[in-house]
Amino acid sequence: MTGGSTTGDDGAKAPSSGPQEPRAAWPLWEVFVRSSRGLSHVHAGSLHAPDAQMAVRNARDLYTRRNEGVSLWVVPATSIVTSDPDSKDQFFESPQGKDYRHATYYTKSEGVKHL
């Protein structure tokens, strides 16, 4: 299994939630903050909110109290698909040994300017 919903960080399993009575517990959202223009949104943490509109507001209140951000993303934790840590080798071993993808591989041209 290479995917599946996750909660928390890059996290643990979400409790399955089918249609049910409205529960008092709010779902989990992952929060991404862009700290300034020109930079990517970076994962900051998570929070609970009843819906997307409240989630983005709660994120503003919780994760940008000290001018930490200029833009926010919130994503339902259950919508994040992660790679399977057990298939780590098949996923992430391949680039190892392909040193020729890095500039440092090419040593003969060392010292040539603007290259």
């Binding site: 890059d10 996290g11 998570s46 000290r66």
Partner: protein
């Protein structure tokens, strides 16, 4: 992971491989991330520690929040509000780290209000005067920071990251406490007495925040092997005493401990005896404010239930509306 009866054999292999990787990562001082294999005891110990830490932040809001409406200047009122609000934030960062281990926040909250979970027993002492707000910031937050800085390198990734954020924000908490005491110490004789009295009362409990002496702390060893904890209780306590000895001079106040001395041989600061019986009593629920703190937390949670339900119901109705419109 889908595990069926047929998989049972390969599952055992997976666990062995997982354990090997886990041990390697710990040995390399790398980090464990949420979906990695981890020993059940590691998960359990972390869940317990992080959730207790989160509960402490949340219960810890109360003693200080009690003084928000009475803060003696508007600046102090704003600072105190910001500090108590930060504590809610820190509780949230920590709950979210604990949730990555598989326990929903709901469950942790239930355990707390059912009296099944612990929080730092320091918050079961009453905040008697305004100077206590200063002493809490200086001593209690000071001890907390001492404890927390090494936790930024805890082997569990989400915990370490939460602690980095917490430590960054808490540096102002200790300073504002120190400044409250400094202002009082330089104020009228009454104010000065108030400051000394607060330091007298909060000194020993803040030292006990580091936990029992090493020889009585059976969990510590395992926690250090797992690199959750980096230093022993006594080590951190000694380090804290050394810092306070210097800082109290700037305040022009005294620590209520005549036995503080630097031991050249061990390279550690030593302090007078602490009343561990009292510590155990307070931990067991017999502190002056245990019942009050729990009651208030329970009340807030129960009084808020209809609001949380309303928002959840609204979200469901809206989702249905969009689904039908689509």
């Amino acid at each position: 992971m889908t595990t069926t009866a047929i998989d049972a054999g390969s599952r055992v292999d997976e666990d062995t491989a997982g354990e090997q990787l886990f041990n390697e990562l710990i040995a390399q001082d790398s980090r464990i991330e949420p979906r990695d294999w981890m020993p059940a005891d590691y998960r359990k110990a972390l869940t317990r520690q992080i959730s207790q830490h989160a509960h402490s932040e949340i219960i810890g809001m109360q003693p200080e929040a009690n003084w928000i409406t009475r803060a003696p200047s508007l600046k102090r009122k704003a600072v105190l509000m910001a500090k108590v609000q930060d504590e809610a934030g820190h509780g949230l960062y920590l709950y979210s780290a604990a949730e990555t281990l598989g326990t929903p926040r709901d469950k942790m909250t239930e355990d707390l209000i059912a009296g099944k979970a612990r929080y730092s027993s320091i918050f079961n002492y009453p905040v008697r005067t305004w100077a206590d707000i200063g002493a809490i910031g200086w001593l209690v937050d000071g001890a907390a920071i001492c404890n927390q800085v090494p936790l930024c390198r805890a082997s569990y990734g989400p915990y370490g990251r939460a602690m980095v954020r917490v430590c960054k924000e808490e540096s102002f908490h200790q300073r504002q406490g120190f400044e409250i005491l400094l202002e009082l110490a330089n104020g009228t004789p009454e104010q000065r007495a108030m400051a000394q009295d607060a330091v007298n009362r909060w000194y020993a409990p803040s030292l006990m925040m580091f936990g029992p002496p090493d020889e009585d702390s059976p969990n510590s060893q395992k926690s250090m092997e797992w690199k959750i904890k980096r230093f022993s209780n006594d080590e951190l306590r000694s380090r804290f005493v050394g810092m306070m000895v210097e800082q109290v001079k700037v305040l022009g106040l005294e620590l209520p401990d005549k036995e503080i001395r630097y031991n050249d041989e061990t390279g550690r600061w030593e302090h007078g005896p602490l009343d561990w019986n009292e510590f155990k009593e307070v931990l067991a629920g017999r502190g002056p404010c245990n019942a009050q703190r729990m009651e208030r937390r329970r009340e807030a949670h129960e009084d808020g239930a209809w609001v949380r339900e309303a928002a959840a119901a609204y979200a469901e109705k809206q989702a249905l509306k969009y689904a039908q419109a689509a």
